[in-house]
């Protein structure tokens, strides 16, 4: 151990981390306890896992698999359930934006993967979220060429519609809404993708077709029913509201009553 490392270890805190370890898809898994040292308050949660992984590698053990990419809250790749809450204790932020100062030194932190039948665990904390892509592929697009940037100025969009579309478009597709929902419903994600387009003129021609196709794909993929717990809105890193779910229900009802 280098001198700096020894100093950091002395300065930093120690945590007990209980992590879900699972060798692969359809393999049995369990929570395993680890001690991790030298964690300073300004480290991000994922950096804490990096430190732990380094430690494990040095001990000749297998590192913990977890997803991350941008590590600045924009890509939606990171996906952990920390002490029972998707994306951890801080509202309006992704796992990668959670800092260790949110956890009292010496505490035990339990980390589990996003859980849903539609999100099978691939390894440890990594889950397959491609079901969300399938929902988008079912209709979350505009089939015609909507033009280039200058064309945006030729079709006027009201402020309220633009705001609603922007709210919904903030979705980064992380799947925390599914993970947090007691029923593992994908209603918040699906509704955000639907209302984003339903709020804009370019989305109108396919509006009815889209809502039907996406809702039915969501059901087919084995996501659960919504019970209006609103937990999805509370964990959403982009704070997307359940008002989009109500909008989806209106649209679906209208699409089936007056096709």
């Amino acid at each position: 151990m280098s001198k700096e490392e020894t100093v950091a270890k002395k300065q930093g805190s120690r945590y007990t981390v209980r992590v879900w370890r699972q060798a692969g898809k359809d393999k049995p898994g369990q929570l395993v306890d680890y001690q991790v040292d030298g964690i300073i308050p300004n480290m991000s949660f994922l950096e804490m896992l990096d430190v732990l992984n380094e430690q494990l590698t040095k001990e000749g053990k297998e590192a913990i698999a977890f997803d991350s990419d941008c590590r600045e809250g924009i890509c939606g790749m990171c996906s952990l359930v920390i002490d029972g809450v998707a994306h951890g204790p801080h509202s309006g932020c992704t796992t990668c934006a959670v800092r260790m100062r949110d956890f009292p030194s010496g505490s035990t932190i339990t980390i589990e993967p996003f859980r849903a039948k539609a999100f099978p665990v691939i390894k440890d904390l990594v889950v397959d979220r491609s079901a969300l892509d399938k929902i988008i592929a079912a209709g979350g697009y505009v089939s015609v060429n909507a033009g280039a940037a200058p064309d945006a100025n030729s079709i006027l969009v009201g402020k309220e519609s633009a705001d609603r579309a922007m709210d919904a478009a903030a979705c980064i597709g992380c799947g925390a809404c599914v993970a947090a929902c007691p029923n593992a419903s994908a209603s918040l994600f699906t509704s955000a993708k639907i209302t984003q387009l339903a709020s804009l003129p370019q989305g109108q021609p396919e509006r009815k077709k889209r809502v039907k196709a996406m809702v039915e794909e969501m059901d087919r993929l084995g996501f659960g029913d919504c019970s209006n717990h609103g937990e999805c809105e509370a964990v959403c890193p982009k704070e997307i509201g359940i008002n989009h779910i109500a909008q989806m229900r209106r649209d679906y009802l209208m699409a089936t009553l007056a096709p």
């Binding site: 204790p89 039948k117 007691p182 084995g222 919504c226 909008q247």
Partner: protein, 245 residues
Amino acid sequence: MTTFTGALRSSLGKKYLMGFTGLVWVGFAIGHLIGNFLLFAGREAFNGYAYFLEHLGHGMLIYVAEAFLALTILIHVANGINVAVLDKSAARPVGYQVKGNARGRTQKGLASQTMIWTGLTILGFLVLHLVTFKFAYLWEQVPDYKFEGTNIMTRDLYSVVVRRFSEGWYVGLYTAVMLLFGMHLKHGVWSAFQSLGLLNKKTTAPMISLAWVVSIVLSLGFLFLPVTVFVMNESFASPAGGLHL
């Protein structure tokens, strides 16, 4: 092509049915509560109200209403079991070992997570309620009542109610269930509007507050009656009945 009936089988359709049937019963509960307050007016008024309901539309309307209520509650219960038990475990076969609650804007709490249990308790109570009041005449002696100044006879439903509410265990049970009923409504009422797609960003929060008010008014309203009848039984059991202090 999805038809409306096909849509009702989707996950969203379950919400429409749940919300609609729930609201039907909330409407019924409000009417029922108002009717119940006639107990305070006395034997003649309460029996007269029951007689009036039984003879609406040549005595047919009550059967239509009852059939409608039975159908809606059947849908509500079947859907509820489907959503909260079957679909729920199918969509998340492996659960979390640590359960947490996000802070802030969540509505997830004791009321929202126990809908199925409060619901089934209310259902059980409903059966008991029908057996001990509506169908009391089938298994116990119910005296007849003659309306003042007429020759019209009817069952003295008022006496059934007052006698039952003089029993401490029944009043206790009734009170406990009404508190659970309030909890069910606290999540259920605003949720019904959300399920039917009737809320937006501005109306969600006021509707959640309104649901609080409705649940408190209905739950306290319903338990106020048996408790009052129990405490003031002498007044209620008198020939004229009602509450006179």
